[in-house]
Every structure is written in structure tokens, then in C-alpha cells.
Amino acid sequence: MAHSARRDSPELPDFSVLKRLARDQLIYLLEQLPGKKDLFIEADLMSPLDRIANVSTLKQHEVDKLYKVEYKPVVSTSDQLCFLIRPRIQTVKWVCDVVNADKAAGKFKRYKIIFTPQKFYACETVLEEQGIFGDVSTDEWAFYLLPLDEDIINLELPEFFRDNFLEGDQRWVRTGGSALHLFHSIYGPFSKVYGIGRCSKMVYESWREQVKEGEQKARQAEVGTVFLIDRDVDFVTPLCSQVVYEGLVDDIFRIKCGCVEFGPDVTSSDKSIKVMLNSQDKVFNEIRNEHFSNVFGFLSQKARNLQTAYDKRRGMDIKQMKTFVSEELKGLKQEHRLLSLHIGASESMMKKKTKQDFQELLKTEHSLLEGFEIRECISFIEEHINRQVSYLKLCPLSLYFFTGLLPKDYRSLKAQYLQSYGVDHLLTFANLKQLGLLVEQQPGETLTVMESKMGKLVNDKTAGKLTDAFSSLAKKSNFRALSRRLSLVPKSDEEYDLRVPRDMAYIFSGAYIPLSCKLIEQVLERDGWTGLEEVTRLLNGHEFAVTADLRPQSDAQRIILVMFLGGCTFSEISALRFLGRERGYKFIVLTTAITNSARLIEAMLDNHV
């Protein structure tokens, strides 16, 4: 089942230094506030923090009590408070309230805010406005890169997606550049950088700026090639249901910072258990990239092997038994534990998916991608909306948009959607429109005119800002054209053997090759964008390829850092791993967050205060 790696696949660099670096920096910052202190941690920083440090690390540096930031008055009795937060106005306002409440009560304490990965001017303005600028010291913890696995590094910035693509706020561009810079200064120098998307280009430029500012020591490169890609280059892929094991686990149980919580239905006991999912888990490592339909066979084979291994004990003499216990038993037990977890997870996923008409959903997605049986797809979507199944049913709707939504269907589906889930989802629809995920189409002719105008605008640099407003229109009809040009949808009349995948389409049951990964494959193959002019035009341009004047090193060249700006899915990572095995590359994924269809749509929700 595990694919044999090509013998000459290069070795991946060691990323554990990134964790040590981040931890050491944090400790340094804590030492800047000597003495006992209470530490308040932003909720979504807790898991990342857990990956690099633990309580005793903090205790060693005189952290007394730990609290989660909950936007409530604090009860701490310590006279030193330290806040470890993301640079968000809301959180800073809360800190201001805390400080001002203490002031009003006549308490005098020392306060320190550590912003991570950086502070924003707008946050400091809040401190100023609330009259506590100077009472609170601020610092930055440049914790950019969190290695989640041997080939995944995460920025853990899910808001990057919404801020950048929906709000059009470029606050994270420099962060992206700094992350790349940090990576470059440890594992570089890069000799080739490719990219596509507005944000990618800006991040690239920001990185170049930072390289110029600092000095660069000559070194052997460990990673030589970089590919940057914006999430809005390919929205279709993350909208599809995932069927590769790791992706499916993420869709159903939500993997958080490399860790998943399996409930009682999986553990078949009365408690939940948190499990780290990475290459250290030998069972998981062998199934994570597999199509779900292959996983059962694999697991039952494993179970049988395990049984045989245990059975060996029978008829052993004392000496053999001793060796068995000291050498094999521990490994077997470990494997046993993992195996029963993943079998439990598979069972539970099977049950859930059976309930949710999963097969029908997949069929609908595939039809939409192929452009067949659209009426059936609409009635499927409609029926799910009518039955109030889940707001995530916007995913197929949005997918339908990319593949050609008719105006009358749009209006009718939107109306039914609002009836089923609440009119306040008007706000969600407005966001989807703004982002270009779901837009009411102009009638045919207008669209063509708009598009041809668009084409001119794209080439005109000063008018670049206008493309924002129109890009969604251009995206609409382009998926079909892109799909044809890049052969994203294999011919449906051929049997696809999922056990022996022949291309990256296996991650979607052989129905679709993810656009993002196909672009990467093509550019690496062609060593640039030559021959892809039509494709980049359909994608609104912003592509680039830069080659540095460096002695090429074959091994480092074949280790490729792919940076996803706005998040990537586990399915895409699986597809890249497959591509790596096929072509003798090793891919490292650097992403602002792990995403999937649910997270993508949730980022658009606005129907709460």
C-alpha cells in the first residue's frame, strides 16, 4: 500500500530547529518581565504553543498561572500580567479594560503584551486612545513557522484568508514575507522562485526587501525551489468533499494544529482522546494519503498481521518469550493502540457518511465538475436546502457557481436558502459575492463585454485595483476553459483504479485533478510559465518566475517549498506527495492555515454579532 519512494528522492531538512527557535524567543521575551507573572493566552494560540513548549517551560521562567483570554474581567492577584495575543483590536481593547479597571481600583501592576507574530499600528493606537500607552509594554514574538509534520509548516493564521481576500487588507503580506525570509535564512538560499496571484507577488516582493535589508551568509542550500500560490487562484479544490483519509478525518473531526479529538464513538469508551496525527504514527502514515476505499483493506490486513504476531507467543519457551517481550511487544502494543484508533475512526466516519447521503453529494460534485446532469445537481442542492441539512451545503452551490450558475437558479436557490437558514444569511451572500465565491451572473452578452474589458484592465498596471471588483466575473466561466486546457477532469468512460493511482485525480476518486497542484506540476515541468500563457490569462495573471544566479544544486532543487497564501487542504498535500513520488521531488508545504470546504464557508459567515 505504501508507495515505494523513488530511490533518488532527496531527504527533507530537519524542521525541529524552528520549534526550538520559537521557544527560545518566547523565553527571551518572558525574561524581559522578570519575577512572577500570570500569563493570559489567546485561545487560538494555545494549541500552537503546546506544540513548542509546555507548562514546565513557562514555569521555569516564572509564569505563575495560565489563563485563556476570554474577554471577561480577570481575577488574577499577581502584580505582573503578561498577555500573549494575536494583534487584534478586540483583544487589545479587552486588555485596556483590564488595565483601566485596575487603575480605577487603585491597583498598580506591570503589564506586558506580547503580540505574535507581529504587532500592528492599529493595536497600539487602541492603547493610546484608551490612555494606557506607556503603562503597558509591548513586544513581538516572531513565531511564524510551526512545523506540523516533516513536510508541513503552518503559520496558523486562519484569518489571513478573510483579511486578505475578502476585506482586501494587506496586513499579513509582510508577515508572509517574514515567514519566507525566516525559512530562507535557515534553509535557503533559493535559486528558483515561481508564483501566481496578487498576494503571492506582494509576499515575494516583501521577502526580497527583507533579504536586502539583512545580510545573507553564503551556505549550502537545503531547499532550492519555491512556489507561491494564492488561494483565490483555485477555489474549486477546497470546495470539494475530501475522500483521502487525512482529508476526510479533517472534514469530519476537524484536525486542529496537527491534533484531532476522537470522541467516544471512536474510542469505544466513555471518554474522548486527543491524538497527534503525523508521520510518527506509523499506521496513520501509511493510510493518510490513501483514498478512503483502500483504507479498510489495509486496516484489516494490518489487524490480521498483528494477530499473527501476537499468536507467535504460543509455543515459545522462556528465553524466546523474554526476547519477544523485550523486543517486539512494545512495538506491537503501540501498533495495536493506533490500529484500534484508526479502525474506530473509519467506522465512525462510515456511519456518519452513510447518514449524510455522502455518495449522492460526491456524485453531485463530480457532475458539476464535469458539467453533466446539472438539473439533477440543482434538485439535490435544493432538496438539501429544503431539509435544512447544513449550511455547508453552500459548498456545492458555490461549486456550481464556478462551473456555470444560471441567474434564475441563483435567485431561486438563494431565496430557498434564506428561508431555510435565516434571512440574516443575506450578509453571508454579500460576502460570497465580494470574494467572488458566488455571484449572480450577468446575462450572457454583458458578461462577454465585461470580460473583454477586463482583459485590457489586467494588463494595465494602474488599473490593477479595479480587477478586484471584476475578477469574480472573470472567474466564472473560466473554470470550464481551464479544466479543458489543463485536462483537470479525466474522461469519465475510463475505469479508474484507486488502488493504483495514475495521477493526482485519485484524491477525488479519479474525478478531478486539483487545479492548484496541476499548476505546480506544469510549472516545474516547464521550468516556468512558458506555454501556459492562456492558462495564466484565464487566471487573471500575476504569475512570475525568478531564477537566481546561483550554482544549481540538484538535490536542493528537487526539494520544493510550496507556500499557500490563504490556506491549503490535506487533499492538496496528498496530491503533492503523490507528485513528489512520481517525479522524484520532495514537497514541503508552507501554509497560512489548513483549510477545507467548511472553514472556507465559515470564514464568510457574518450572521453573528
Binding site: 487588507d169 496586513r171 499579513w172 503580506v173 429544503n386 428561508q419 450578509l427
Partner: protein, 459 residues
């Protein structure tokens, strides 16, 4: 929601198709079950020799002991107990991790003594040159031209933080009119400004900005969004009423109007029903106590509620399903699905029957449905409808194969039998004889058919 989550799933979920079959489902599922059994059988074996250090130490919450998330929770719970639990039992960190003082290291020297790692300390606290410089010297930019140049410069470097910093300065030092005017032609800066105002909750200024820019729909949506902050239902209703006249697109204006009308009705229904429930005189509220208030629920949930509690009411009342259907122009299919689900949940099979029965001008009745009869059967079976009810709808499924499959699934034997008879398939009928109960009415029926000389069997 009216029902608990599980309840709801159970009730809505239905599968017309065989669900989740990548290939041969049964086979795979059995395989999985077998593996589960195999693994479980080893369990006893393993547990007897389980050594504790193997297993990760987890606290009651399932969180590894010593993790930060765990500790935070401990702190939270200790707040109530006023004593912080000792966590000295936590495994201490390996020595190499933080044994040295870091202050000495961040001076550009090698951070890690490990010589195999070629790592240099990145300048940890590198001044963020741009904005610090600009922030300090911003006051120097006094003429409009200089200010705008500054803004364009900031946009040019693609650093949102710097752009926002400049905008905050411009906001303080320019009048709104001038600022708005200049932002209109600077889309990137404008979007940063809008985002900044949104985050710092400067609603009023943002509305003014939209108005100045003529972005009426954005203005309307932003104002409409305010209703989410209003918790009092009467105030919320009045607010929504005022939203109706906002400059929405014609389509959205209709939706907002519906929103207002819906809440207005929900308030009336809620008041009446709460009284009826506490009064204890109305049977249905005694038998099926309401689990939640209907206020602020979506329209379809409200329709379901009314089909559940107020089905028989005449069109004149606000809570009658027919009235709701008409007022909100609910599609026929949508109405049927909801009404069917509600009546089936109550096992009111007569109502179900009436829902699908229509009479033609000769007075004959026949069954009509906007959704497929297989789906109807599906929803009914999910609500444990008896065979007598089910077979009525299964029998109406047009597609012969699907009809037989459903009839077998729901054990509607007579449907299977009569379908085979219509197909004149003696072999299938003979085969089915083995599946019905010995001596049952079904068996007698099959025998009767098999011995009927008037049927011309095809095999």
C-alpha cells in the same frame, strides 16, 4: 431549533440511494468489522500487561497532562476552588531545551551549540523600520498633497500595517469630506480603511463613508446587520421594520421585508403558545412540550413548528400553515417536505394521506406529490410509519425496479407480489414465496396467483 440535534438528523436524514459505497460497501464494511473484532480480541491480552509509561498521561478532559491547554483549564476550574492544583507531577522538560539564558545569545551569535545545525539568530527584535519611522514623522506631512503622497507610498510597499497607520493619521488630520473624496479613487487604501472602521466598530463613520461613496447596498447591509445586536424581540422587530425602506436591491428588499414579517408573527405566535402551554389546557403542548422558543428561527423551522402545533387551523390565523405558506410564497415542494415531516413525526397518518390526495371533477381521488414517492416513503419510514401506510406510497413509485427494491426494503410484501404479477414473472414470484412467512396471508396470495389459470406467465 425545536428538536435536539440528534433527533433532527435522525428525522431529516434519509437515503434514497445506497449511501457511501465506494465500491462494494457490504464487503468493505464486513472487513472493517472483522478487523475491529480481531483488534478487540487482542485487547484482553494487551491490557493485562499494559505498562503505564507507554500510555500518554491524559487528564479527565483527554488533554495530555502538562500541556498548556490543560493547564489553562486547570486554572479556570481552580478559580472556583480558590486553590491552584500542584502540577509538579508533570514530566519535566529535557535538559537541553532551555537550560541557558537567552539574553546572552541574541547578539548575533550562534544560538544553538549544536554544531550540526547551521543556524544563526535572526535579529529577534529587528525594528519594524517602515511604520515606526513613518509613525514618528507623520506629523510632518501637513499639506494634502504630502499626505496623499504618503498614502500612495504606503500602498506601494504592500504593507497593510503601514497603510492602516497612515490612514489613522489621515483620519485624525483631515476632514471626513476630504478624506472620503480622496479615498474614492484609491481602492486599496479604501478597503483598508473600511476594514479598520469595521474592526474598531466605528459604525457611524463607516455608514457615512458608504453614503458619501454612493455604495447604498453596502450601507443598507451594514445597517441591517445591526439587528443582530438587539436582543429584545420587540425592539428587533421595530428595527427590522425600519430596515425595509433601506436602499437594498429589489430582491434583497423582499427578503428583509420577509424577515420583518416573520419576526412579527413569531412574536404573536410565541405569546399565544406560551400561554397555551402554561395554561395546560391544550393537549398537544402537554403531549409534546415545546423545547425552545420559536423566536428568531428561520422561516422553514417556523413552518415546521406550525405544521406540528397548528396544523388544523383555518387560514385566518397567523399560525396556520396555509397562511404562512401563502404569505411567504413558499414553494410547493418545500411546503410538502416540511408538512410531511411534521405530520409524520406526530404519526398523523390521516393528515399525511390527505396531503397527497386530490379529487378530480368526477369525485375520484388520486395521489399526487411534488416530490418523488420514493422520497415520501423514505421520510415516512424514518418516522416509523406502519407497513399499511408505507405500502400506499411505495406502490406509487413509477420505476418498477425502484418500487420492488423499496418494497423489499420496507417489507411491503403485497407490493412486491402484485408487481411480479404485473410483470407476469412466475419465477420471481416463486422465489419470493420463500421469503414471506409460512402460512401468512402473503403466502396464500402468492399461491392463489400461481394457481390462477388466467394469468399468462412469461416464464
Amino acid at each position: 431549533m425545536m428538536k435536539s440535534k440528534a433527533d433532527e438528523e435522525d428525522y431529516w436524514n434519509s437515503s434514497k440511494f445506497k449511501a457511501f459505497t465506494f465500491d462494494d460497501e457490504d464487503d468493505e464494511f464486513t472487513k472493517l468489522k472483522e478487523s475491529r473484532q480481531a483488534v478487540n480480541s487482542i485487547c484482553g491480552l494487551v491490557e493485562e500487561e499494559e505498562d503505564e509509561d507507554e500510555v500518554e498521561k491524559v487528564s479527565w478532559s483527554g488533554e495530555p497532562v502538562g500541556s498548556i491547554s490543560w493547564s489553562v483549564r486547570e486554572t479556570a476550574s481552580s478559580l472556583r476552588e480558590q486553590s491552584f492544583p500542584k502540577i509538579d507531577t508533570t514530566p519535566s522538560l529535557p535538559k537541553n531545551s532551555s537550560g541557558y539564558s537567552l539574553s546572552s545569545l541574541f547578539k548575533g551569535k550562534e544560538v544553538l551549540s549544536d554544531s550540526s545545525v547551521r543556524l544563526y539568530a535572526p535579529e529577534l527584535r529587528k525594528p519594524k523600520s517602515e511604520y515606526k519611522v513613518t509613525a514618528v514623522s507623520l506629523e510632518k506631512f501637513r499639506s494634502l498633497q504630502e499626505k496623499l503622497l504618503l498614502l500612495d507610498e504606503a500602498v506601494g510597499v504592500h504593507d497593510g500595517n503601514v497603510i492602516t497607520a497612515v490612514l489613522i493619521y489621515l483620519k485624525k488630520s483631515l476632514s471626513k469630506e476630504v478624506l472620503f473624496r480622496e479615498l474614492e479613487s484609491r481602492q486599496t487604501a479604501l478597503r483598508h480603511f473600511i476594514h479598520y472602521l469595521t474592526e474598531s466598530k466605528e459604525q457611524r463613520l463607516l455608514l457615512e463613508l458608504y453614503r458619501a461613496l454612493g455604495r447604498t447596498e453596502d450601507e443598507a447591509l451594514l445597517q441591517y446587520k445591526e439587528h443582530l445586536r438587539i436582543t429584545d424581540e420587540n425592539k428587533r422587530r421595530d428595527f427590522l421594520k425600519s430596515c425595509v425602506s433601506l436602499p437594498f436591491s429589489p430582491e434583497d428588499a423582499g427578503h428583509v421585508q420577509d424577515h420583518y414579517t416573520l419576526l412579527e408573527r413569531q412574536i404573536i405566535i410565541e405569546a399565544t403558545d406560551r400561554q397555551a402551554e402554561t395554561g395546560g389546557k391544550v393537549e398537544i403542548f402537554q403531549k409534546f412540550p415545546r423545547r425552545a422558543s420559536i423566536l428568531n428561527m428561520p422561516l422553514i423551522t417556523t413552518l415546521y413548528y406550525c405544521c406540528f402545533y397548528h396544523y388544523a387551523e383555518t387560514e385566518g390565523t397567523y399560525s396556520s400553515p396555509a397562511n404562512i405558506r401563502q404569505t411567504f410564497r413558499i414553494a410547493e415542494k418545500q411546503y410538502f417536505v416540511t408538512a410531511l415531516a411534521a405530520r409524520a413525526k406526530l404519526k398523523a397518518w390521516h393528515d399525511v394521506d390527505a396531503l397527497f390526495t386530490s379529487r378530480n371533477w368526477l369525485g375520484f381521488t388520486r395521489k399526487k406529490s411534488p416530490l418523488s414517492f420514493s422520497r415520501v416513503a423514505d421520510i415516512l419510514s424514518k418516522n416509523n410509519a406502519p407497513v399499511q401506510v408505507l405500502q400506499e406510497y411505495v406502490g406509487l413509485v413509477d420505476d418498477v425496479e425502484l418500487r420492488v427494491a423499496l418494497a423489499q426494503k420496507y417489507k411491503c410484501h403485497f407490493i412486491v407480489i402484485s408487481t411480479y404479477r404485473d410483470l407476469k414473472d412466475r419465477q420471481l414470484l416463486l422465489g419470493y414465496r420463500g421469503k414471506v412467512e409460512r402460512g401468512s396471508e402473503e403466502e396464500r396470495k402468492i399461491d392463489e396467483l400461481l394457481s390462477n389459470p388466467q394469468i399468462r406467465w412469461k416464464n
